[in-house]
């Protein structure tokens, strides 16, 4: 791409100063003439959007930067601003503040001026309802702040002409697009993209994180199509504009970490037909061009999506980037339909954060938590006396006890969830800007978290350790109740001792069947786990009456969940990680990837409305021409059998190098060696060297 590397180096040369939006916000708050909390907040947001000095990169085509609020400010001034800002606290993750996919469809269709007209019309309709008209006024104020910010950028672009290193053509392009957005709805693809980026940028200025861009290949498609048809846009230019935009997601690093901005391509249209289009490919390639974490790309794979699309996805994954994650559209839509959403809204779902399914722009921001079913199994074994344990007569009886414990655990979880979600004075914690981009808030004149959104909030309970639990239950059934080799009390004693002095017992439980080998004996527990726990969570709702989903996604929490846990009946030692996400325990799925996927596709994931994650690693050679189609076949079959998600990593050089130094940490790293796969650590030095050099060769 023409300027993406230059833009990246501009972005990645860190500015001096710190992220301090509160400086501007506090000024708006303290100078506000309003008395109602939402309107004072809106004045704070107006100041935040309107006051900062715009920053335009020399290589920008689509502008809007976080640098505007990276300032070198004396500590005492920051302290004073923070004190003002503290009187207007924001909600937190547990009570629905971010991880949200905005309704960019309406924004692109109407433009900001059009949305303001809608707000005015709604205020007229709600005349006499002080609460609604007051909130609508607050919403309008924030959109005026956004317009002011857009105007500031136009002026800045115009004033930079002639400045060293700046290109007049680029600046004209930016200024022209900004000016058009002041007048009405975006008329070109670039203007639509610019508008979306400005809105997203304002969310980040507000302090929000993991704000998804959602179905960009849907809401920008009409403009893309129009421009392509009239010859003012090419796919190359489109890819360049999108990459130019996505690269700025990485500005989040100025705050110390990468953002997780989910972007969703593929899926179905309003009629339920595969909606992959030319723009989907441009977005895919743009993410590849940017080649940084942050733009977290997801692809909704439908049974009718073209092979070419899946192949392009695999090409990008094969670069080592790991994006896009591949989502089984059929399963995800079935899962969301079970939660009672309208079909047309389900068809338009996307993801927020890592993989969390979300009804685009129609529900409050996401929240979730971690639920560790293995802890309740451990509690039985360490909590009951030897006599009590040995009086359990059968596996069925053991399962009934375990289910009772889980039920209590789920009750406690729900109590914790509701405590986290509870806000004493919601009218003093409104989000007027965010509410503009959620369907029904303008129409109803209400905050996104106070009944403005079309649907109530959904919450995700992330179930940890399906592999650890399934393997543990299989071991108990096999050695205690079937073979009668070891009494349950002895197994409990072995666990308490972290298997020290019980080496033979550990050998025995390690030899029991393990999840991930297409073995029905153990796989039935994964099926049970998914359905039973989903049943338990299904009984509850969020505080505002929305559904509680289950997830089987760990991020890296499975490592921390394992830290505090003693040894488990599957042979796992104390402190070791739990199995990851929806995957079998690493190193226990020894039969091969097809067997792993046959096992992993057995649970009913239409019960996991939040989503699940299955990590698989392949070395770059699996992504070569002529081999990719085999990966595609693997995925198609896995999805046709009901698998929900797969993310395929083409192993990075760093991992391969580290695996040579610390083979103990990479016992289950499978690499494609040539036509076959092998455990990396069992390969000879020179072979590892060969693969390393080949990887490097492919990376050039």
């Amino acid at each position: 791409m023409s300027n993406i590397s230059e833009l990246k180096s501009e972005i990645l040369s860190f500015p001096k100063g710190v992220f301090c939006p509160e400086i501007f916000r506090a000024r708006g708050l303290s100078e506000s003439a309003n008395t109602i909390n939402a309107n004072v907040r809106a004045d704070g947001l107006y100041a935040l959007f309107a006051m900062p000095e715009p920053h335009i990169y020399k290589n920008d085509l689509i502008a809007g930067s976080l640098r505007d609020v990276i300032l070198e400010v004396p500590d005492d001034e920051r302290g004073r601003a923070a004190a003002v800002f503290a009187k207007y606290p924001e909600r937190t993750f547990s009570c629905n503040t971010d991880h949200y996919a905005a309704d960019y469809f309406t924004a692109v269709e109407k433009g900001i001026p059009g949305m303001i007209r809608d707000i005015d019309a709604s205020a007229e309709k709600h005349a006499g309802d002080a609460e609604a008209t007051g909130f609508l006024k607050a919403m309008k104020r924030t959109l005026e702040g956004l317009l002011k910010r857009i105007e500031n950028y136009a002026e800045k672009a115009e004033s930079l002409k002639g400045a060293e290193g700046y290109d007049a053509e680029k600046l004209d392009f930016i200024a022209g697009n900004m000016r058009a957005l002041l007048e009405g709805a975006p008329g070109t693809f670039a203007q639509g993209l610019q508008l979306v980026w400005m809105i997203h940028n304002c969310f980040v200025l507000e302090g929000r994180y993991a704000m998804a861009l959602g179905r960009i290949d849907r809401y920008l498609y009409p403009l893309y199509l129009k421009d392509i048809a009239n010859g003012t846009l090419t796919d190359e230019r489109c890819e360049e504009l999108v990459a130019n935009t996505f690269a700025k997601i990485c500005e989040f690093r100025y705050r110390g970490c990468d953002d997780v901005v989910n972007i969703c391509i593929g899926g179905v249209d309003e009629e339920g037909v595969c909606s992959v289009n030319g723009l989907s490919y441009c977005v895919l390639r743009a993410v590849r061009d940017v080649n940084l974490p942050g733009p977290n790309l997801s692809a909704r794979i439908t049974p009718d999506c073209p092979d070419e699309f899946l192949d392009e996805c695999l090409k990008v994954i094969g670069t080592g980037l790991g994006y896009p994650a591949l989502m089984n559209d059929t399963v995800n839509m079935a899962a969301l339909l079970r939660k009672g959403y309208e079909l047309k809204d389900v068809r338009n779902y996307c993801m927020v954060g890592c993989i969390e399914n979300f009804i685009t722009g129609m529900q409050p921001p996401w929240s979730d938590g971690r639920f560790d079913p293995i802890n309740y199994l451990e509690a039985i074994l360490v909590g009951k006396t030897a006599e009590e344990l040995d009086s359990i007569e059968s596996m069925d009886a053991f399962m009934r006890i375990y289910e009772e414990r889980l039920k209590e655990g789920v009750e406690n979880y729900i109590e914790w969830m509701r405590r986290g979600q509870f806000v004493a004075e919601p009218e003093n914690m409104t989000a007027p800007f965010l509410s503009c981009f959620c369907q029904c808030c303008i129409e109803r004149g209400r905050d996104i978290n106070m009944g403005g959104a079309k649907y109530p909030s959904a919450h995700g309970a992330a179930l940890m350790g399906i592999g650890t639990v399934s393997d543990s239950l299989a071991a108990i059934e096999r050695v205690v109740f079937e073979d009668r080799k070891i009494p349950l009390s002895t197994l409990a004693a072995a666990i308490k001792a972290n298997y020290e002095g019980y080496g033979d017992i550990r050998e025995t439980v390690l030899a029991a069947p393990k999840y991930g080998n297409n073995d029905a004996f153990v796989d039935k527990y994964a099926v049970w786990y998914t359905s039973t726990l989903s049943d338990m969570f299904d009984r509850y709702t969020t505080l505002d009456g929305g559904p509680v989903y289950t997830a089987q996604a760990a991020n890296v929490s499975n490592i921390y969940a394992g830290h505090g846990l003693g040894a488990t009946p599957d042979g796992r030692l104390a402190g070791r990680p739990l199995s990851d996400a929806a995957s079998p325990t690493y190193g226990c799925d020894v039969k091969g990837v097809t067997s792993t996927l046959l096992s992993v596709s057995k649970p009913d994931y239409t019960r996991c409305a939040c989503g699940s994650v299955v990590n698989q690693k392949f070395s770059p050679s699996a992504f070569k021409d002529g081999k990719r189609e085999k990966l595609a076949q693997l995925i198609r079959v896995y999805f046709s059998r009901g698998g929900q998600e797969i993310q395929i990593n083409s192993t990075s050089r760093e991992v391969l190098q580290d695996a040579r130094i610390h083979p103990e940490n990479y016992q289950s790293l499978v690499v494609r060696v040539s036509g076959f796969s092998a455990l990396y650590v069992t390969l000879a030095d020179e072979v590892q060297e060969d693969i390393l050099s080949r990887t490097q060769h492919e990376e050039v």
Partner: protein, 256 residues
């Protein structure tokens, strides 16, 4: 029912034929190619390999009935059907266990799964006759192009493998020739030409060039055996491409 001496069953094999395949490696070989990358499959006896650096011990060699093998590999039927895949029987020399292979292939055929046999062909013709009715295709190794050379590098009978190859092609079997491209053995133009003329004479339509690799060297270490080819570098990509081009003028040629 015959019994198969199985070394290893490897799923999602992508280099052993079309589509997604499972390769069943059988133990026992009657050739002794010094570059062999599956040394654990040469002896018919069970063998335990100790990968010291990785702290892993793997035992190869297990007697299974053809039905047991068929049931195991049939689990992946959906994957095979997604794109012309199936089961590959390799080794060792699978044609030494022709009765078991024939039974396995027959069961798989009944289940709609195709079987490919990867052989060096140095067995009595009768063995092929037994499997012909159930096996769908053959990968047929040609490691050298003359009687003397073949005998000196593999210990096998060149006349026998050529005669078997001719008969296979003549009776309409689906045969792909596989030429391991081994530095110091058969990479010279002269040697390649001899191999080529053998293939043309037999009427083979397609050949794959398989460049030498050292991927088996850890297994030699784990078996406590010396690998004669440990220090041999894989041929340069240009050299492989040039050989492929040369063959490609006379026969459809692929490079693995």
């Amino acid at each position: 029912m015959a019994v198969l001496n199985v070394s290893n069953i490897q799923r999602f094999s992508t280099g052993d034929g079309p589509g997604i395949r499972t390769t069943v490696f059988l133990k026992g070989c009657n050739l002794r190619c010094p570059w062999c990358h599956n040394p654990e499959n040469i002896s018919a006896k069970p063998e335990t390999l100790v990968f010291a650096a990785a702290g892993k011990t793997v035992t190869y060699g297990k007697l299974m009935t053809p039905l047991e093998v068929a049931d195991d590999v049939s689990e992946d039927a959906d994957f095979y059907n997604a794109g012309g895949g199936g089961v590959t029987v390799s080794g060792g020399e699978p044609m030494l266990q022709y009765e078991g292979v024939a039974e396995l292939a027959a069961i798989l055929k009944e289940r709609g799964i195709s079987t490919l046999v990867d052989t060096a062909g140095c067995v009595p013709w009768r063995n092929f006759e037994v499997v012909l009715g159930s096996v769908n295709a053959f990968y047929y190794d040609i490691k050298a192009g003359s009687r003397e050379k073949y005998a000196s590098v593999t210990g096998g009978d060149f006349d026998l493998i050529v005669s078997n190859l001719k008969k296979l092609v003549a009776c309409g079997a689906n045969v792909t020739a596989r030429i391991p491209f081994i530095p110091g053995v058969n990479t010279s133009d002269g040697e390649l030409r001899l191999i080529l003329s053998t293939l043309l004479e037999a009427g083979v339509k397609h050949a794959d060039l398989i460049p030498f690799h050292r991927l088996g060297s850890a297994k030699y270490k784990a078996m406590g055996r010396e690998y004669v080819f440990a220090k041999t570098s894989p041929p340069a990509a240009e050299e492989v491409a040039r050989a492929g081009e040369m063959l490609g003028k006379y026969i459809e040629t692929g490079i693995e």
